[in-house]
Structure formats: C-alpha cells, structure tokens
Amino acid sequence: MLTDSKLTRRQILLGSGNIIAAGSLMALFPALEASAAAKPITVGFIYVGPRNDYGWNQAHAVGAKKIARLEGVKLIEQENVPETVEVEKVMEGMIRQDGAKVVFPTSFGYWPHILKLARNYPDVLFVHIGALWKEGDPKNTIGYRGYMEEPHYLCGVAAGHMTKTGKVGFIGSKPLYFIFNNLNGFILGARSVNPNITCQVVITGDWNNPVREAEVTNSLIDQGVDVMVANVDSAKVVIENSERRGIYSCGYHTDLSELAPKGFLTGAEWNWAAGAAFVKAWQTGGQYPNLLRGGFRQDMVAISPFGKVVPEDVRAKVLKIRQGFMDDTFKLYKGPLRDNEGNVILKDGQVIANDDNKFKLGVNFLVEGAIGKTGLKK
C-alpha cells in the first residue's frame, strides 16, 4: 500500500496537466487523500504585462515563485493578458485544461471578470489583488493588498536624510487613492526628518509611458529635485534616468537596487507571497479571509535592501520605524495634519489606525509639503 501510494503521488505530479484524471485516481485511494497533508494543487498566475518588467508584474512573479515552493503546488503562468474578456478565456483555460484550483489574476481591472467566473467554478479559488471584495461577492473569491504607504514612509525618511536641495519628486500614474496614500506616506516620512522639505508631484495619467516618464524625470531634476520615486507600472526608466543625472532614487513594486548602483536608497515592495496562506487553506480545507489588507505587521509589504550610499545611522533610523509599524506602535496618519491647500485633515491628538481602511480608501488629498494637485474634483 505504501509503495502504491507513493507511485500514485508521483503519477499525480507527472500527470498534473490533467488534475481531473488525477483526481479520479485519488478517489481510488481514499486513505492517501486523508494522509497527504498537502494535496497536489495547480495554481495559475495571470499577468497583465511581462513577468520581468522591473515592476508590478515582477512583484507578482516573485510572489508566485515563493508560492510554487509550497508542498504539492504546481505553478502555471500566463503573461500579457489584457483586462478584457480575454482574461476570462485564460482563466477558464487554466481551470478546465490545466486543472487549476487557485488562480491569481494579478491586475486591478480583472475583478469584474473574476466575479463573472467565480460562480460557475465554486471549486476554484480566485485571488485578486485589489482588495475589492465586499459582502455578497462569491465566497470563493479573495481580495488582498498591502499598505504600500508604510514602506513609502520609510523611503521618505531615507530621502529626507539624503536630500541636499530639500526637494524630492514623486511621479504618479493615475489619480487613485492608493497612489495618494503612497505619496502622502513618502512626504510625511521626508518631512519627519526636516519639515521644510517639499515634494514635487507629477501625475502622468498613464500606467506605462516611458517617454513621458523620462521627460518628467528630467524636468523635475531641472527644478532641483534630488530624490525621485515613481509609482508607475515599472519605475525602471525613472530610476535609470535619475541615476544618469546623478540623483538619488527609491524603488517601487520590487527590488530595483541593481538599476541604480550609485544613487539607490531603498524601495517600497509588495510581498504578494502572503497569498501562500490562501493556497494552503484551499488545499487543506482551512479557513481564509475574503478580504485582507495589511502592512509590515501582517508581512504584506517590505523595503528593498539599502543602497550603499545610505549611511548606517540612517539605516538604523529607518529600521526602527519599520519595527514601530510591525508592533503597531507607530502610526502613519496622525494630527495635526493639513493638506497642501491648508485644510485641516486631522486635529492635534487625532490618530488614524494603520488598518483604518475606511480612512485610507477615502484619501483624496495631498498632505502639506506636496507641490501639485490630485486632479480630482471634490
């Protein structure tokens, strides 16, 4: 029986192209099914762009690789899937042909398509990165997302220590609440070091537009900015152009330190490998949340390794605040806080919890010190 079960398991791994058949084999050995802690499971990752883009997609691919190391997990991936009906076809292909039981469609605009499919495939778990899940949505869907404003705050602290001109720059893609949160985190961090620091804000309007990003970078540097951070799909162009102009830069999404060996400070990173817990829960029939947001405390975000220009004392200060996020003793939004038009956002003594989703989702202002506008009509 023992040898038999081992053989069966190998067969399952070999034949994982067709889990349905494997599943029927499993049915022949109920004892095995009970004894195997981690059932073989196929996990599908779908990316909106190329996997190695030094950006959003790469951050997910890094997470996918970590999830693939779990026992019994087989990873399948597909790149360049647009946010259209196309993603439904890709998901159905993964589910029906490859037998995927967990899919991670990793782009914001996939969500409506996930909702369409989730009801038809109740035995498949759909994990989305927008944290858009609300009561009434299918139970086999999950939304999760990290509080990227926390690592941005740390980037801001590093930037605040390193800037000589007192001007830092932030390039945003779209006028969305999480971009504003990241921007506010970055500015608050920089101004915690020196309250005279200002941050020039440029929203490009595109997730990905290399020529405009390069132009914005050069224009901002011409205006005296000497630390740059970019919230675009891939900050590669911004970081490379900043490095060429001899200024500092902070990364976004994933580890970009190798793009700027001289001027890289640190960067704000996602830790999408947190999705491993969902795969495990689905594999073993355990509990999982439908909606999960978290920062350093929940291990859902990280900072990149420090660049070699960052001195020891600055590193220590940054890491100390990170510890504060981890044990929830440090709060990002606290009064007195004004926006850059002079309106009072928080009164003295008012503190926003780091996991106050309602407040964070409603952020439509730029904090004091930001030069620029949200572009939103209020």
Partner: protein
C-alpha cells in the same frame, strides 16, 4: 549631486527645448525614411512596427555585443529587411500598400514583443552623447544640450537628402517613379526596383530611429516604448510636404509638444495634464485638418501616391 539652481519659468523653457531635442530624433528618422518611401510612390504605414523592431533588435545587439553602435546598425538592417518585405509584397499585382503597411505594423510590433521578452530585464550599453552645454554653469542647460550623435546625423541627413532628391540622378529617378510610373518606364527605369530601394532605405532609417528609443532616450527596451511615434511620423511627412528639411523642423515641434506637459507639471501646473499629454496627438489632427483640401493636391505630393490601388 550637482548644485541645481532654481530657474523657475526659464526651467520650463529649457526643459521644452531640451525635450524637443531628446524626443524628436525618432520622429526625424522615421519621417525622413517615410519621405524617401513616399517619394517613390509608396506609403509604408508599417514604419511603426519597423520602429519597434529596430528598438528591440538594437537593444538586443547592444546588450549581447556591448557595442551600441553595432546595435544601431543592426536596427537599421532589421528595418531594411522589413522594408524589403513591404516592397516585395506591394510589387505583386493588385496589392494595396496601405493594407500591407497596417499588416506589417501589427506584425512588427508583435514580433518585437515576442522576441524582446528576454530583453526587458537586462541593461544594455547606451549610445554616448556630446556635452555641447559644457560651457554653461547651469546643470539644466548642460543636460538640455547633451546631444546624441544620432540627432546630429539626422540634422545633417535632412539637407543632404533634400539636395540629393533634387540634384542627383538617384534622386530624380526616385521622384520620377513616384510622380509618374509611365514616364519612368518610358525612360527605361524599373519602377518596381526603384520602389524596393526607396522602401528599404525608408525602413533602414526607421529602424535607426527605433534604436534611439531603446539605446538613448528613454533608454531601455519595454513594450510601451513607442507611443505611436512611428505612426505620427507618417503624418508629419504630409505636414512637412515631403521635404526632408521641413521634416526636421516638424520633428522638433512634435518633440517640444511631448515635453511641454511634463515641464509644466514639474513647476506645479498640474491641472489638465491629460490635455498636455494629448498635445502631440492633437497637433497631428490639427495639422492634418489644416493641410487638407478638397480642391487641389498638396504641393510636393508624389502623384503616384493613392489609396485606391
């Protein structure tokens, strides 16, 4: 970290001028290439695909060999091959060159994305630039005048091509074929051969223009690298009246239009950024409308250019 001086509005002007020089080179090369092609009586709308293929192949060769100039050459040769393909297909009877161009546009970008997958991550050596602003104490001016050799080549090429089209035997042959294939045949020229040459030369220049995108500015390969520069350059040729020297001026204008939005945003004028972002496209539309006429043909338009072939 150079001591940056606050230049305020002068900074905007310098950024626009610098941006015009930085951004215009791909426009310039593609439009020069398209001028040659159209002067022979063909339209090649596939130059957008050629541009992207040039960007990808140039970046790849520069990464593998470590020589960006070799990358530029290979980008040009890739463009030449695509030009040959376009010309060869269009030489078949009853083939519409616009349709073939669109097919090649899609083919070129698709192929470049497919082959370029492994090139997104590596960092290839870039083309050098000439520090023409070294005399200035302002870092802003120094950077605005960091001029890439390809821009200078384009600057020289434009009047040379204009002279060549007017005064050399090759230029006159090209224009004769483009204006009247019957006259060209009567003179004993091979119309198809001349058009193949014209389209290949156009492809070469467009490929070189693409290599500028990946090897100099913005200076890396990714799939959103070209935001339609290849297609806009084709429009630009019409506005420039098929005159290579005008191509140079209009390319600068388009480059400046692209740089305007970012420059304004960096001094805090952030309202309506979508509008600034659309500036080059609005300019394209405006130029086409203003230069169109129902009564007469455009001055300088090769008579053999037609969409109903």
């Amino acid at each position: 970290m150079g001591a940056a001086t606050d230049l305020g509005w002068w900074g905007v002007l310098i950024a626009v001028v610098g941006g015009a020089i930085r951004v215009s080179t791909p426009y310039l090369f593609v439009s020069l290439g398209e001028t040659l092609t159209e002067k022979s009586g063909r339209v090649n709308l596939g130059l957008e695909g050629t541009l992207v293929m040039g960007a990808m192949s140039g970046y790849g060769i520069s990464y593998v060999t470590g020589s960006p100039w070799l990358g530029v050459l290979v980008a040009g040769l890739t463009g030449t091959l695509l030009g040959l393909l376009h010309a060869a297909v269009c030489n078949l009877p009853r083939v519409n060159d616009i349709a073939v161009g669109i097919a090649l546009f899609l083919f070129g970008t698709g192929l470049a994305f497919y082959l370029g997958k492994p090139l997104i991550e590596p960092v290839a050596p870039r083309l050098p630039h000439l520090p023409l602003g070294a005399w200035s104490d302002y870092p802003q001016i120094r950077v605005a005048l960091e001029i890439n050799a390809l821009f200078i080549i384009g600057l020289i090429l434009a009047p040379v091509l204009r002279w060549g089209l007017r005064n050399t035997k090759w230029g006159i042959m090209l224009r004769t074929v483009g204006d009247s294939s019957d006259a060209a045949k009567a003179l004993g020229y091979s119309v198809n051969f001349v058009r193949i040459m014209g389209t290949m030369a156009g492809g070469f220049l467009a490929g070189v223009g693409g290599s500028f995108l990946s090897l100099y500015y913005p200076g890396s390969w990714n799939e959103a690298l070209s935001s339609g520069q290849g297609l806009m350059a084709v429009t630009l040729v019409i506005f420039a009246r098929w005159n290579p020297v005008y191509c140079f001026y209009t390319s600068l204008l388009f480059g400046g239009a692209t740089a305007l939005g970012p420059a304004l945003q960096s001094v805090g004028i952030t309202a309506n950024y979508y509008l600034y972002g659309a500036a080059p496209y609005v300019l394209t539309l405006g130029l086409l409308i203003s230069s169109s006429s129902t009564r007469h043909r455009l001055v300088g338009a090769p008579s053999e250019l037609t969409i109903s072939k």
